[in-house]
């Protein structure tokens, strides 16, 4: 039964509806319209945009590309982030300074950093090829070959977001109980064995959380691609977010880009749910 106290929830509910539900519902409605550069407004064209989406090979190719890119970047971020967190956790000399330094990439603006990295990778004028030439390595086509551009984007993503992984994992390490380590020390476990049989299992829930958060963020990669490669060469680094941006804001195919966005959202929810369940089963050993 509705009581006066329930009305105190109303402001929060209305805010929620305004900032989350309305844009979502509106996007769903737009996705069933032909809203584009000439036809503005919400006509109804049924599922034509969704049918078109299934035949859009460029979109599906970008999804496949993103899967590979996310897998590589998040794996590298996790491994490096964990290693750095372990190093700082062990009270290494100058640990406090390193903690701050490690966080700097994450705190910089992605667009600005992408511009700087684009300059670093500039094949004629950038320092990357200059440095490589000093050790006898010829000019690397960082941004003008498909493989080079892909690797460049991966490098920037790893550089920028490893600190985030580091931060979460360090927080997890700091909060671990001391008893299992005392027990391991009494049993004479080696550092490696302590890591694999104590630290890693204890860190599994936090690791899964960190990986899922990073996968969600990685799936939205846009600014790095936009600034560094514009999705090229060809379509070698085109991701779904960038493709949707082109369709929506460059081509002004508002209805179609809404359909792309929703399809992408649904695919991401399904994929990330499956990944989370698989990780839980293998790392923690139970269903969520």
């Amino acid at each position: 039964m509705l009581k006066p106290k329930h009305f105190f929830l109303l402001p929060a509910l209305l805010t929620l509806a305004a900032i989350i539900l309305f844009p979502l519902v509106f996007t769903v409605r737009v996705s069933f319209s032909s809203w584009d550069v000439y036809q503005a407004g919400l006509d109804f064209i049924g599922g034509r945009n969704y049918a078109r989406l299934f035949e859009d090979t460029r979109f599906w190719e970008s999804l496949l590309r993103l899967s590979g890119m996310s897998l590589i970047t998040v794996t590298l971020q996790y491994v490096l982030g964990f290693a750095l967190a372990l190093a700082v956790w062990k009270k290494m000399r100058g640990g406090r300074i390193f903690r701050v330094l490690f966080l700097v990439p994450m705190m910089t603006t992605p667009v600005v950093m992408s511009v700087i990295w684009r300059t670093v990778f500039h094949e004629s004028l950038g320092p990357a090829n200059d440095l490589l030439s000093m050790v006898g390595i010829g000019p690397v086509p960082w941004l003008s070959s498909a493989a080079g551009a892909f690797i460049s984007v991966v490098i920037v993503e790893v550089w920028q977001w490893t600190p985030f992984m580091f931060l979460l994992l360090l927080a997890g390490l700091v909060s671990l109980p001391r008893e299992p380590y005392l027990a391991a020390a009494i049993d004479g476990a080696s550092p490696a064995r302590t890591f694999w049989q104590v630290t890693f299992p204890l860190m599994a829930p936090i690791s899964i959380g960190a990986i899922i958060i990073r996968l969600i963020e990685a799936s939205k990669i846009m600014d790095t691609v936009y600034v560094m490669t514009s999705g090229g060469p060809g379509t070698a680094t085109e991701t779904p977010s960038y493709y949707i941006y082109i369709r929506g804001l460059r081509d002004f195919q508002v209805g179609y880009s809404a359909a792309l966005s929703l399809a992408y959202l649904v695919l991401m929810i399904i994929t990330l749910t499956i990944i989370a369940k698989v990780l839980m089963r293998f790392l923690v050993g139970k269903e969520t």
Partner: protein
């Protein structure tokens, strides 16, 4: 007596109208950075006489510096002179279209004055106020070249206010072309005399020979060609420049991108394919990373002395001619290369030409307009007229980063450019190249139709796939043609045909 009286009255009227102008013309406006005010309906003196106190003008323009900086400058001046409040919003190029289009589509009167890429006229024309006769009849407008008046015109009515003129042309290093040692080197490599390329095949050959060695003796490697090849960074314009002479037959009218009768895309016909094949081949003479060059990289590469040749807008040439440039007065301008084999879509055969077929590309440039919904149209047009008055334009032309390029007959005056420190032969080559494009009868214009962004984005993607080796030129352009057919179907063939007729009229020299 009566006659004398009326004569005196007319004289008095003339005096009363002329006197303030004369007085104002003598006023000193040099604090605004101009050499002197030039009399006209939108001169400093004329605008100074207007009072827009208490009124507000909202302007949307490109980010600083290109067009954005002169907009801000002249907005401030206009505000000082008239008392109007002028709000200027600067938007990066990638966002400009949607920032203008969304208020238009949603019926908001967000901006009175708009600065944007002129090829968007196909999308924006429904929302723009026609330029009143008082402005179309002004002396400043009379001096605008016919081609740029054409660019501003839609269905016979001027709806854009010309304030910039753009075209693609060839830029090259005269110090290399005139160097006997380099001439000998080229002769040895090719058996031909070194000359400014007149076809794209020659361009690729010259670029290839002068790529990968230090021909200017500065200790750094040099390369043959800098081109805008980065997808989504105006690369579509570079491709049009390269394909135009193969696909634009001087004796075949009725459409360059489409057959206007059927609205069938022509983008995968042999002329375009040949242009793309040569674009792909040209990559071997690009500097390292050249396939990822945007416009800024191209300007820097040629303007900075790294490459022998380049073609695109004025910027790289102006950059090379800036004070302090190490290649100042060592550059020349020439028409875009042509083609000796031109695809005739009427006969379905290649036609041979003794003299290369040239198809100057009057590529999109900046334009301006007033919103139909604006409640301050008179003030808005006064602002645009002031922005582009003769004194301001001569000032803006001198500053490369402003992005304002010649669009009036008076701008094709070699003496003006020599006054900026350009050597006579450099200024002559620049002025001659630009002015001769105005006389061509085989020009190519942008696809100024609704959804031009979709068409160009699709084309850029196809060209990028070919440049990256993901598809052959024919496969890539077949894919583009399929996408174009889908776009035509979605937007409507009749609607597009009606809009495209405006482009075809310009290309077929029908006004």
């Amino acid at each position: 007596m009566k006659r004398i009286s009326s004569t005196l009255t007319i004289a008095a009227m003339l005096t009363s109208t002329a006197m303030p102008a004369a007085v104002q013309a003598e006023a000193d406006y040099s604090k605004y950075g101009i050499a002197k005010d030039i009399p006209g309906s939108c001169s400093y003196a004329a605008i100074d006489a207007k009072d827009y106190s208490g009124q507000t003008l909202n302007v949307i323009t490109h980010a600083i510096p290109v067009i954005g900086e002169p907009t801000a400058l002249h907005a401030e001046q206009f505000s000082e002179l008239t008392g109007a409040e002028v709000n200027v919003v600067h938007v990066p190029f990638g966002d400009l279209f949607q920032r203008i289009m969304i208020p238009f589509q949603s019926g908001q009167n967000a901006y009175d004055v708009l600065f944007y890429a002129s090829l968007w006229i196909g999308d924006f024309n429904r929302f723009l106020a026609p330029v009143p006769e008082a402005y179309t009849a002004s002396s400043g407008m009379a001096d605008v070249t016919d081609s740029f008046k054409g660019v501003a015109t839609w269905n016979g009515q001027m709806i854009q206010y010309p304030m910039d003129g753009d075209r693609h042309y060839l830029k090259y290093r005269t110090d290399v072309f005139d160097n006997p040692e380099m001439q000998a080197k080229f002769k040895e490599a090719t058996g031909r005399d070194l000359a400014v390329p007149t076809t794209w095949e020659e361009y690729n050959e010259v670029a290839s020979v002068f790529s990968g060695f230090d021909w200017d003796g500065d200790g750094e490697l040099n390369y043959g060609s800098a081109e805008v090849a980065k997808r989504d960074d105006l690369m579509f314009s570079a491709f049009i420049s390269r394909a135009a002479p193969y696909a634009k037959h001087p004796d075949v009218g009725g459409g360059f991108f489409f057959d206007i009768e059927t609205m069938e895309p022509l983008i995968n016909t042999p002329g375009f394919v040949r242009g793309l094949e040569l674009f792909v081949e040209a990559q071997q003479a690009f500097p390292p990373g050249g396939t990822n060059f945007g416009l800024g990289d191209e300007i820097f590469s040629f303007g900075g002395g790294q490459t022998l040749m380049s073609y695109s807008w004025d910027d790289a040439f102006i950059q090379a001619q800036q004070d302090g440039s190490r290649i100042r007065n060592a550059v020349g301008a020439a028409p875009l290369p042509g083609a000796k084999q031109v695809w005739n879509r009427e006969t379905g055969e290649w036609d041979s030409f003794d003299e290369p077929n040239r198809a100057p590309y009057m590529t999109w440039g900046w334009s301006s307009a007033v919103s139909k919904e604006s409640e301050n149209q008179e003030m808005a047009f006064d602002f645009l007229c002031f922005f582009s008055n003769e004194a301001n334009t001569f000032h803006d032309l001198q500053i490369g980063r402003f992005g304002v390029n010649p669009y009036r007959d008076s701008h094709f005056d070699s003496a003006f450019w020599q006054g900026l420190g350009w050597d006579a032969d450099v200024a002559d080559s620049y002025v001659t190249t630009l002015s001769e494009m105005e006389d061509s009868t085989n020009r190519v214009y942008d696809l100024r139709v609704p959804g031009v962004g979709q068409f160009m984005s699709s084309m850029a993607n196809g060209v990028a796939e070919a440049l990256a080796g993901q598809k052959s030129p024919q496969e890539a352009l077949d894919g583009v043609a399929d996408e174009w057919s889908d776009i035509v179907e979605r937007i409507g063939a009749d609607r597009l045909r009606e809009a495209y007729a405006n482009v075809v009229r310009l290309e077929d020299n029908e006004g």
